[in-house]
Amino acid sequence: MTAPGAVGRSAALPVPYRVAARAAGAPGTATIVLEPVRSALPPFTPGQFAMVYAFGVGDIPLSVSGIDGDRLTHTVRSVGPVSAALHGLEAGATVGVRGPFGTDWGLPAAAGRDLLVVAGGIGLAPLRPLVRAALAAPGEYGRLNVLIGSRTPQDLLYAQETRAWAPRARVLVTVDRPDGRWRGEVGVVTALLDRAGFDPGTAAAFVCGPEPMIRATAAELVRLGADPGRIMVSLERTMHCATGHCGHCQLGPLLLCRDGPVVSWTTAEPLLLVREL
């Protein structure tokens, strides 16, 4: 895990970006591609996030779900005023972006190891650039497993793209609530761990999703013999400044905008098992 974080102007002042493309995805989610209007922010790495500002409404943290040169891709789920405003933006609209913020997945440190990516719901968004980076470096890593859990078949993100990851990756998908047409797996994402092909003792794991899902996945991985120091999880707390000043994102001794969102399970476990911090 590296912690470059944003420095200087890009941390405090939003830089204008234009919506170059927008695609509606699973119900309530949209993937937007942003390109700089003038100068671009420093490069993002997989796992990092931006503060994206919908003018007149507010800004929220959004992970990068794609990095392509100066272009940033975000997948946003509409849950409240700011995310709804960003979700509704059409191509050509302008937003303000600050970043890059936070720690990344630290993929290069996993060179030579089997990779295990476990995503729940929209947790696949921050993991997508990691999978793309691993696929773009054949021979660099061991076996790549991508396990995806989704509420319903309709809620699956990037369905076409994830299908295309196979056969270079072992991609297993499970849903909680199948419809009549679903022929895939049914059950929680942890049930897929037995069917993935990785060496638990040495693999590097990358987990993102709702916290109960992260806890269940990490606990199962440890039971299978994984090293908690090599299980990277991405955590979320409400964020405002994203620069380590306001304290909104505090989790125990961590400020997650600065010390996270990606931390190892060694760090996360004691913090997530405490009821109130």
Binding site: R77, G123, S234
Partner: protein, 156 residues
């Protein structure tokens, strides 16, 4: 039967794994076949070699919803170990299923005669039940639901 190390069999010490294998024979179940029905006599169980099975619940008036799928190495069926030895779910083969099929009555008798073997088998089956119970509870949280739509929620 090959004594595979992972899945259900992986939870058994080698000696008990070999003992259990004495009660098995290989079967092939065609795609789409019903393997057992809710309420039916639980006189057999299976360990899946390849292919998969879907567990479903009978709901009057509509096709049985699938509640869980099982794959390679998984134990299919545990109702045979507990009275009244009746299936509490239905099961259907997804694709062609190859499995080791066990005679439940003989395994139960062997468990009764050899307490160490019985304890090992019961412990391994209980571990499967515990994991499925945990998974069911986790799903009750409606894990991946958008915030506000369920008890769970959360984001990337």
């Amino acid at each position: 039967m090959t004594t595979s190390q992972h899945g259900f069999l992986g939870a058994l010490p080698p000696a008990h794994r070999d003992r259990l294998a004495e009660f098995a024979h290989e079967v092939e179940i065609p795609a789409g076949a019903r393997i057992f029905e809710e309420g039916g006599a639980a006189d057999r169980f299976w360990i899946i070699r390849s292919g998969g099975a879907a567990l479903d619940v009978h709901v009057p008036g509509r096709p049985p919803p699938v509640v869980e799928t099982l794959g390679e190495g998984d134990l299919l069926g545990w109702s045979w170990l507990f009275e009244p030895y009746r299936w509490h779910l239905g099961a259907q083969a997804r694709g062609r299923l190859r499995a080791a099929e066990f005679d439940a009555g003989r395994v139960r008798t062997a468990c009764g005669q050899d307490p160490a073997f019985g304890l090992a088998v019961t412990g391994a089956v209980a571990a499967v039940i515990a994991r499925r119970l945990k998974a069911t509870r986790t799903r009750l949280l409606d894990l991946y639901a958008p915030p506000g739509a369920g008890a769970g929620g959360g984001d990337g």
